[in-house]
Symmetry: C2
């Protein structure tokens, strides 16, 4: 029987969760491995040796030096759970050079430095597994790289940040607004003290970068992802969207078009009839459409000790199996052989064609609709749905809400500029993209 020895870098939430699984579910895992292998944590790099741990650390050597772990000849697989893109990168590179396999939950590191890390790993014929980096406990990497491998993937669209989805879900409550809901999310531990990373879509952009690469077989291109956060969304917009039959979700979308790939994270109106629109709270879900399979969806908890560690340990089991295989036949890091990855163009956001939700405030109700529609018509934009309601302050004023047909962003930008210059239109026009996900 093989004794697989793990070295952990970091022993916070996910590290503790990983130890917890191995302490409690190992007999079930060994039933899966048929007695061919067992797994143990032999060394852990922590920040504070003195800290009391909730999990049993019996038999684990503790160190404050991560490099001890990656240089430990006893360690077979390095599990990187420390985060960050500098020391974590150094450690992983050293581990690879030492011939060790790597499991990581570090989405920023994979999205920003995956191309070089995967290349290095290939040279040393070791594996880097990162199921935990996207959508926590949902085995979405496996579904894309293996489960749907018979398909040319057409698009991927996901709710891949639980904090943002929690906020948008809670904003449906009467009287809720963004700032208040964010405060509650922070109190509940769903949002960080500095929420920028989640709320402005950077975390989602990291995950989307990875999803796009394994969907299309293209290089990781984090710097080409268009990213827009949810801090401008109001409770009123959510209500209007609901009235028109939509939910507002913060989506990561990767799609294939004639002139290249589109990678973007932004608030999106999704028809309520689409299952993804019904994903609420901190849960994650990723829709994948393949040319043969059609639309599929994967749903589950996107964060937390148990779910993330579930993905980490599944990766460890996969590595144990695939280690007994020649490197050429292993599932490649991005699902496609490295030398076959496309260096594909990413389309600028201006070139994207999408439907739009537009909300504007008309100071003088009379005749404004005629003006608005004629300007939109000038730019060949049709209104598919329209909702107009008088202002509660002054019945002569009105809020105008529209869903347009699919138009190029450049055309829409010009139309919005023209609308905003109308005397009857007060202030900026709120604009949110609409995706029917079909």
């Amino acid at each position: 029987m093989k004794q697989i020895k793990l070295g952990l870098l970091g022993f916070g939430t996910v590290g503790g969760g990983t130890a917890n699984i191995l302490n409690n579910t190992l007999p079930e895992i060994e039933r899966r491995l048929g007695g061919e292998a067992t797994i143990e944590i032999v060394q852990v790099a922590v920040r504070d040796l003195a800290r009391q741990r909730a999990v049993d650390t019996d038999g684990m050597q503790m160190t404050v030096r991560p490099m001890d772990v990656v240089n430990n000849p006893d360690v077979d697989i390095v599990v990187e759970l420390m985060g960050g893109t500098t020391l974590a990168k150094d450690c992983i590179e050293t581990a690879i050079r030492n011939g060790k396999h790597v499991v990581t939950a570090n989405k920023a590191l994979i999205a920003e430095h995956g191309n070089e890390l995967f290349k290095l790993a290939k040279q040393h014929q070791v594996m880097i597994a990162y199921e935990a980096a996207v959508a926590g406990g949902i085995p979405i990497i496996k579904a894309l790289r293996e489960g749907l491998s018979a398909n040319k993937i057409e698009w991927v669209a996901g709710i891949i940040n639980g904090t943002g989805n929690y906020i948008l879900t809670e904003m449906k409550q009467p009287e809720a607004d963004f700032a208040e809901v964010l405060k509650t999310a922070q109190e509940l531990g769903y949002a960080e003290a500095d929420p920028t990373f989640d709320v402005e879509g950077i975390d989602a952009a990291h995950k989307l970068t990875i999803l796009a690469s394994i969907a299309f077989g293209i290089k990781l291109q984090f710097d080409r992802v268009y990213t827009e956060g949810i801090s401008q969304i109001t409770a009123e917009d959510i209500q209007f969207a609901n009235q028109l039959g939509f939910e507002i979700k913060h989506l990561g979308v990767a799609s294939r078009s004639e002139n290249g790939y589109s990678l973007r994270v932004h608030p999106t109106l999704v028809p309520q009839s689409v299952l993804l629109a019904q994903v609420n709270g901190v849960m994650n879900a990723v829709m994948v459409s393949g040319d043969h399979v059609g639309p599929t969806m994967y749903y589950g908890p996107g964060a937390g000790a148990g779910p993330t560690a579930s993905a980490v340990v599944a990766d460890i089991i996969d590595i144990i199996r695939a280690e007994e295989q020649s490197d050429a036949y292993r599932v490649p890091a991005l699902g496609f052989a490295q030398e076959k990855l496309e260096d594909a163009p990413v389309v600028e956001i201006d070139e994207i064609t999408t439907a739009y939700y537009l909300r504007c405030f008309a100071k003088d109700n009379a005749g404004v609709l005629a003006k608005v529609t004629s300007i939109l018509a000038e730019f060949k934009i049709n209104i598919e749905l329209l909702h107009q309601e008088p202002s509660s302050q002054n019945p002569d004023d009105a809020t105008l809400v529209m869903i347009t047909n699919a138009v190029k962003e450049t055309a829409l930008n010009k139309a919005v500029q023209a609308l905003e210059s109308l005397d009857a239109i007060d202030g900026k026009i709120m604009r949110i993209r609409v995706d029917s996900l079909d």
Copy 2:
């Protein structure tokens, strides 16, 4: 480069879909395989050699004798798409004895004869892959066997028959009833001329048998699945369920309890707030709850040429990869090593504890509620939700709809018998199980 040669048994919908994928998406698949292997169909067993095919069969040898294919020394992988449990079984056994790997979409065969087939395959160190046998294009077998391998699975609950889900979805339309909707389903090709297999839950029971085995690591036990169809469900029940906040779904449920496993297929009230309740039409979805990951769900098309062939070809790619691996380290057929499968007891349906939806017709409204509640109280059954409405014919008569707390089936059976013996209760009481899926 390896030339993987496929022999197909059957060339109907899924066989044609498989050829279509290899004709159209092979370059993308070869990008995944990194030029290490390519795939071609070399021989196909069909019923009628003269029949015109929609797909290009260039380079494929056609035969009417399936045994030719499984005995063809050129064939590496036999793809069984002919269905049935007699000739298909003989062919697969011969293929295995000839050292060929097998891919099949045959749920009946796996559910009823998988135990012996997997044993034979293990002896000959070949693989049997069957992703297409459950939930068509959804990679649920992979998710359970590999993606969630760090978990002890607690329960699985799925909408695993598209015909049944289409019928229940359409029955929500005003004036729809079971017989009419079934007729439409037959006209659309969603239901067979003899719908028994789908509507009475036999097809779902085959799939549930497989899901339960790979979830818990137990032997396939099709004959122990409790199966109840949907032909007794009325549009009225669906409306009442909706009013109380539930949808009626035909679920396959496998769960673990202290005294054994429960395997059952029956109509079920699911809270509308649970995502699975929102899965409509012919789509399939499977919820899986693991001890570490919590609840997850997998959604997609459960049938059709493209989706089913997507699963077939993914299995072929997996086999090509795993062929280069010692058999001991391959993912076992049921996710757990064969010698570690539990010969677990399956709990009789009488021993199950579940909440219930009860609907009865009270001839004389006055005082009947007091009688009903006192009888239920006698059997320690509480009413969690109650809806009473007067009959449209006679305001003195009433329909009484109740949701009970979770009770043992034996207690509920006795209570229902006692209620039915009341003079005020007219006819049989409609009873449908309720599952909150949490």
